[in-house]
């Protein structure tokens, strides 16, 4: 059994609700879909018990009524577990910085670019948008468009 397969089996044994939700895409790529209620325990198990001690990054997605989040975890020796979850826009998710101190910066991107609400983020500057970026404007949302002049204010013309 390959390393990825072994992890899949392990996850489905520990969390029966994950049956059918764990996919081995190829040798070094696992995909796990978890609903928000169970996300914390699956994530912690992977990070603390199954050796996925690297958090590469967190991808935000605009899924319409929800925001999607993909936590790209990896074992130091290379196997990745990409954990996908979602939450309705406006609801808060918990920061993973207690487990991954370097991970706060990825969560700040979600806040700035998608308007995500992340609870438990340690104090720090926003990233990556400037301080004078207009409130409530989140560029990576699908219905957000920059102006043709490209200054980022919806509807504003800088010329």
């Amino acid at each position: 059994m390959s390393e990825a397969e072994a992890v899949r089996v392990e996850l489905e044994v520990r969390f029966p609700y994950l049956a059918g939700a764990v996919r081995v895409q190829r040798e070094k790529r696992l995909w796990v879909e978890v609903d928000p209620a169970h996300f914390a325990e699956v994530f912690e198990t992977l990070a603390r018990k199954l050796g996925f001690t690297v958090l590469c990054t967190i991808t935000g997605l605009d899924l319409g009524a929800d925001l999607g989040f993909i936590y790209h975890l990896a074992r130091p020796a290379g196997l990745m577990a990409n954990v996908k979850t979602r939450a309705p826009k406006g609801t808060a998710i918990r920061s993973v910085s207690p487990l991954f101190p370097g991970g706060g910066i990825f969560e700040r991107e979600l806040v700035d670019l998608f308007g995500a609400r992340v609870e438990g983020l340690p104090p720090g500057a926003r990233y990556p948008l400037p301080d004078d970026w207009p409130e409530g404007e989140h560029p990576l949302l699908k219905d957000w468009q920059p102006t043709s002049a490209g200054t980022g204010e919806k509807g504003a013309d800088h010329e």
Partner: protein, 410 residues
Amino acid sequence: MSDKKRIVQVPIGPQHPALKEPESFMVDLRGEKIDAVRLRLGYNHRGIEKGCEQRTYVQDVYLVERICGICSTSHSTAFVQAVEEIAGLEVPRRALYIRTIIAELERIHSHLLWLGVAGHEVGFDTLLMYSWRDREAVMDLLALLTGNRVNYGLNTIGGVRRDITAEEIPEILRVMDVLEERTTYYIKLGLEEETLIRRLAGVGKLSKEDAVSLGAVGPTARASGVDRDTRRDDPYAAYGEVSFKVVTDDHCDVYGRTLVRLGELMESYSIVRQLVKNLPEGPITVKAPLRIPAGEAVSRYEAPRGEDVHYVQANGTDKPERVKVRAPTLANTQSVAKMLEDGYLADLPIVVAAIDPCFSCTDRTISVLDTKRGTPRTLTWDELSRYGIDWHRRRGIDFSKVVLSGGARA
């Protein structure tokens, strides 16, 4: 340690006090030592991920190539790899080899560039001039092979756009020989030149535990003993077919980061020679559809600065649904504050330079609060660099006395 530490942001220049500018580094200073540093990032944020959604995959190859002008083939290759995986394309072996050759040439030029930048930050400009002169040999080679010194336009979805001809191969090997000789000299310098060792050793310390918990990557992590290299751990392109060492070091400081990069240069010359010797025959590209079927993939690549991660989601059209890029520098900046803690202000420039950051340092401003006297100051990067060089010169570290051998012109 003072109890009353406040950060006061001081704008530059008396003309426009209203145009307050956020400093990139806010330093709490205790005497000459740094208590704490806060970083403010985002100056180079352009909006590329959004731009990718609005352009076709082919246009995006050229856009992501310009995320970083030093790691340009890194981003371009990481991107096309993800798209090729989604589309189920089997890229011809010859194309993979060519990608890998260019990838290693990029590592070579980047590390030589870094050597010069590090030299400049410590006041050793001769090293800058010599290493950048040596680097020109790689730039010429890249221009010969791809048509451009930077931003090579090498990749297309499904392969590469230019072949390497038989006539070009002897030139590749010749440049590898010359640079190997020069790098051997730089390694000797690194191991024997007192002034350089004294300047770099013990500076910017990052323990292995901190490197891991803060997510450091690349030479920055490997210099703290973290044995990770995407080329070996998650092989891509032709790395599965060449043999090379992953260079690690236990110094956990700027000196270690220097040795790791020099060691990696030597490994790169060896990798290029293997690839050239075993270059497979065959086509250099396979046809790719304009519309990529729905799906997603994560592609990882060991850029000169460390692991580069691209996530691509396709939706069946000719434009991606989502492109997410995590460049290595973002991962490494999380460690910089730790490296600077309890170090000297004079060392800030070289410590930051030692992670080989993919943002331009020279326009950074630094706000320094002397916590004993409560006096805030704002410095430009240049001013802080000069302060650092002078500070060390007063302690006997003077590079103007160090003579370098220029070697034969490459």
